[in-house]
Subunit: 312 residues, 2 copies
């Protein structure tokens, strides 16, 4: 049975440069990518902040989807969060050219009363203190998943560890997993993350796919296959802008989980496959443009194709 899904994260105007072109003040941000993707699966509740300069055309991106913007704060006279990034070569890593936090810098998310009964909560990348304050405001969620970044691992490690102990799942990229655990082998890094409290960890490896490591019900006897899933990326040949791939992955994953209301290993694995596929659409064009012309049928068709690609 479908369950309610809430995301708290950033809404941004991105200026991007990749080997395939440039874009200025493109719609971006973690909560934006997440909610646009997840809304293909279920209605999504959004909490975020923008400035008065936030363009109406982008506001329509939310309003034209199943995205409830009751938690979207517009700060009078404020400026929207801006990020300038560039990519080179294989585009595996974004180079931050410039950041202006603007209204995001002072944002203390308030969860609207109508959102407090949310069952699935995604804490997009943000300060672990802010993430914890959001968690405090949601009454009794079924499933809480958090993202983070190297900045918080380095500068707010204690607060981050306290947050990780409170969530069901955490999403990290390869470098963050190694940084957090001081362990090169990603399966062992996953085990170390699980020792911090969560039930599962998803390690994203960009063009190399993703890993799911879950806490076995019976640590002594559980075979490998019940605890680990490894998936390659969808073999994309059209990669124009990787921005938002990680949040699109999370949006597909959480959107699918919310649509089923089931969180066991098999559902988590299928959710990862959906995340892989939704991320593969995100990178085909700048910003959220590819999602403008996407349907759940096309997502499902690519999932079937992806299934064939990894089947032996």
């Amino acid at each position: 049975m479908p369950k309610s899904l809430l995301v708290v994260g950033s809404i941004a105007l991105d200026t991007l440069r990749t080997p395939y072109g440039e874009a200025k003040d493109e719609l971006g941000g973690s909560a934006t990518f997440f909610s646009a993707v997840a809304s293909f699966f279920v209605p999504v509740r959004l909490v975020g902040v923008v400035g008065e300069d936030f363009p109406n055309q982008f506001r329509r991106v939310f309003d034209s989807r199943r995205i409830d913007t009751a938690g979207l704060v517009v700060v009078p006279g404020g400026k929207t969060f801006r990020w300038h990034g560039s990519y080179q070569g294989a585009m595996n890593e974004a180079k931050t050219e410039h950041v202006a936090l603007n209204v995001l810098g002072d944002f203390r998310p308030v969860i609207p009363t109508g959102f407090r009964d949310t069952r699935l909560l995604f804490l997009a990348n943000g300060s672990p203190v802010t993430q914890a304050s959001v968690l405090d405001q949601v009454e009794k969620p079924d499933l809480v998943v958090a993202d983070t970044m190297n900045l918080w691992i380095e500068t707010q490690r204690e607060a981050l560890l306290a947050l990780i102990a409170r969530v069901d799942g955490i999403v990290l990229n390869e470098g963050e997993a190694r940084m957090l655990t001081d362990e090169y082998n990603l399966i062992l890094a996953g085990h170390k993350v699980l020792a911090l409290g969560p039930k599962f960890v998803v390690i994203k490896k960009g063009e190399h796919g993703s890993l799911l490591v879950i806490r076995p019900a019976d640590p002594a006897g559980a075979p490998l296959t019940r605890n680990v899933c490894a998936l390659p990326a969808y073999p994309s040949t059209e990669v124009r802008d990787p921005t938002g791939a990680g949040d699109s992955f999370a949006g597909g994953m959480m959107g699918y989980l919310a649509s089923t209301g089931e969180y066991d290993f098999q559902h988590l694995v299928r959710a990862m496959a959906y995340g892989t596929v939704t991320a593969s659409f995100a990178i085909e064009d700048f910003g959220l443009r590819r999602f403008e012309r996407l349907s759940i049928d096309e997502i499902d068709a690519r999932l079937r194709e992806y299934h064939d690609v990894v089947t032996f």
Copy 2:
């Protein structure tokens, strides 16, 4: 129906240093790993060279398996090829500390008369001129697959391109594929390799798995899934020495293909899965030690487990 399989490549004494220990004068070399692994699937014909110093105990590694050493040359008074390598951190890349080609430097492989009717030929890494001379000596093979390395891409590009035009398949690692084609996207790099002549290319990505790209029967209409397979690595937690992983992959792949005598896309995909699994055993211990205590049943059991790991 099983078919005959021949490998021509190096036999080495390796001195290794990894975060998990050290080993001196350990049995190694491309033809050694390849033939040890492939012999789990079919009898293997070996062509290679060693010096008079090659230890009897290592000779028994060949003699105790289904490896025909009629093509193994022992150079009187000569010294065996030696390689000193080290690995750090995630052990993704070997650092060559020292190389002594010794008898390998002057080796001009002669294929014994009884080997010239071989149906499957694996040209392990070596000078493309030497690889071509081997190909000239095999009468009418069904399937020829070659490996190479960055050195030949840089220093013998023309000879390498001439060789690639004559083979059915080529095995490259990620960096080599990019260097050969000047293309970052690995699927597109695969397409560029296919334009050089082969029917398929396997791109190995170490801990990130492998890609198979084949020439579609109908380039215009063939869907993606018929042309590409992406497999993650087996999620190993015991990685002691990555030396020989690539040749163990090739040995599992070619050994399986030789055991079936079929080379269509589905068999190539399954061969990649076998290669993934045999490589995962290679890296669990130094040199060939893990293969001393391995059986085809254990390989098949891990293949089933691996299948579950990638199924969604």
